[in-house]
Amino acid sequence: MLRVSDISAGYDAAQVLHGVSIRVDAGESVVVLGPNGHGKTTLLRVISGLVRPTGGSVQFEGEELVGRKPEDVVAAGIVHIPQGDLVFPMMTVRENLLMGAYRRGAWKVRKDGLDRVYALFPPLKERSGQLARSLSGGERRMLAIGRGLMGDVKLLIVDEPSLGLAPQVIEDVYAAIKDITREGLALLLVDESANHVEGMADRVYLMETGEIRREGNAADLLGDEALLSTYLG
């Protein structure tokens, strides 16, 4: 479904990614693990068109995405939920969600989208009229995820959903992501710790200093404590 081949990328003089290749098959949940500052976010930004790579290719359902604009990537069915709280702070929860349905096809069925997201995250329904900046950290994360689900998504990309959240809230967020993937959506998630991805990931990549060091089935890799502590500390 998604095939990232030999991607190199960076900012100005600093090269961040050195020939990264990963793939996500239909319906599969793939997790890229690695310490902070080693290129995971940059990899996702390359896929979604925010960063132009210096080499390599990104193919989605046979279509080349390198050189395409972010809006074309969204149109192809890839939704990227960015790290941190990239919600629209001065817009209400409902308006934030509606922006997830910006594409014309999704906009037509935006009422259904809202119902679906509210069913998944009931707190968002209660707060639908509140400004996003008044939400708690966990609610904001749910809003960012829910907003990503408003469009016609085939592949969901999530950047470190646990960042900066309290442990109990992290559990809730991961539980919600698990629920979403049960509907057959493909998932590409990056995180710096292996703690929460067990039982969710089908395959795992270990990433370090901009390169993929290991790849394997989740059951094998996540069970190997020695390996994980080598790469993730």
């Binding site: 972010p70 809006e71 969204v74 308006e95 910006y102």
Partner: protein, 292 residues
């Protein structure tokens, strides 16, 4: 009593026009982080387009106003092409961009000077005449200006609040990366914002120059006042800008009525200095946040 009511009415008229000009500045500031100092030049260009259509070519007022809006919108797109496209996202955008708008403004003023000459022209009113209630004079032109401005400001507010594209404009102004990830075409949003705000400024010029006067440099003072309104409203907040426009308009009308016209600019600047000391983020602004 008559003088008081006359001042209130004058304030509403001024406020309406400042609102039309200032929402444009606010929209551009909010979405592009650009202080557009060519806004006054576009205002005057709108005035001259309307003047040419009405006086030289004999068209009706509606046609003249529509023409002023169209030409101004085109100037907004030119501004987009020569300032925004080559500079946006490059280092130094914050300063280079507004300096470039000053340059565009100078070119525009000089072009108007070449074509129309330096003399001050009187723009005819779209509708002549007035009626008097309790010694307060309501000129039809002033009623028209006020009515058109209020309708447009309400429409703009509804557009930003409810329509798909309007919401997208606010989204881009608050979180550009997230907007891109939602599939919002950011470049198109910038283009529309420039076009809409320029056309509103041009319309303000077409309507207000029949109350004030028309000359190549006549846009400077209205732009200064619109800037004061924008800062007072909290740079980037459309609702705040509209409220601020009427407060500033009323303030100006009262100062003119009771202290004399000479005091109107000094009074406005003293007022905005005081406001900034007490509330630096303006009326509806939020500190340290992208707004709109």
């Amino acid at each position: 009593m008559g003088q008081l009511l006359q001042a209130v009415w004058g304030g509403l008229v001024f406020g309406s026009v400042y609102g039309l000009m200032a929402v444009g500045l606010t929209l551009i500031w909010g979405s592009l982080n650009l202080l557009n100092l060519a806004h006054g030049g576009i205002y005057v260009a709108g005035g001259y387009v309307a003047y040419t259509l009405m006086v030289s070519l004999g068209f009706g007022a509606v046609f003249a106003f529509a023409g002023a809006m169209l030409v101004s919108a085109a100037l907004g797109l030119v501004l987009y092409a020569v300032v925004v496209v080559p500079m946006l996202g490059k280092p130094g955008w914050d300063n280079a961009s507004w300096i470039a708008t000053v340059a565009v403004s100078l070119v525009l003023e000089s072009a108007l000077l070449l074509v129309y000459g330096p003399e001050v022209r009187a723009m005819p009113a779209a509708i002549d005449g007035a009626f008097v209630v309790d010694q307060v004079v309501f000129r039809y032109q002033a009623i028209l200006v006020c009515g058109v401005a209020v309708v447009l400001l309400v429409l703009l507010h509804l557009f930003l609040k409810t329509s798909r594209f309007g919401l997208a404009i606010r989204a881009v102004s608050q979180q550009m990366d997230a907007s891109r990830l939602m599939g919002i075409p950011v470049a198109l949003v910038f283009l529309i914002v420039m076009g809409v705000s320029a056309s509103l400024s041009g319309l303000a010029g077409a309507m207000l120059t029949s109350i004030l006067a028309l000359s190549p440099t006549a846009g400077f003072v209205p732009m200064l006042k619109a800037l004061v309104v924008t800062i007072f409203g909290g740079m980037g907040s459309v609702k705040g800008t509209i409220v601020a426009a009427y407060i500033i308009g009323l303030l100006e009308a009262f100062v003119q009525a009771f202290a004399g016209v000479a005091w109107s600019l000094p009074a406005l600047f003293l007022f905005i200095i005081a406001v900034l000391l007490v509330r630096p983020q303006g009326l509806f602004g939020t500190p340290e946040l992208q707004r709109l």
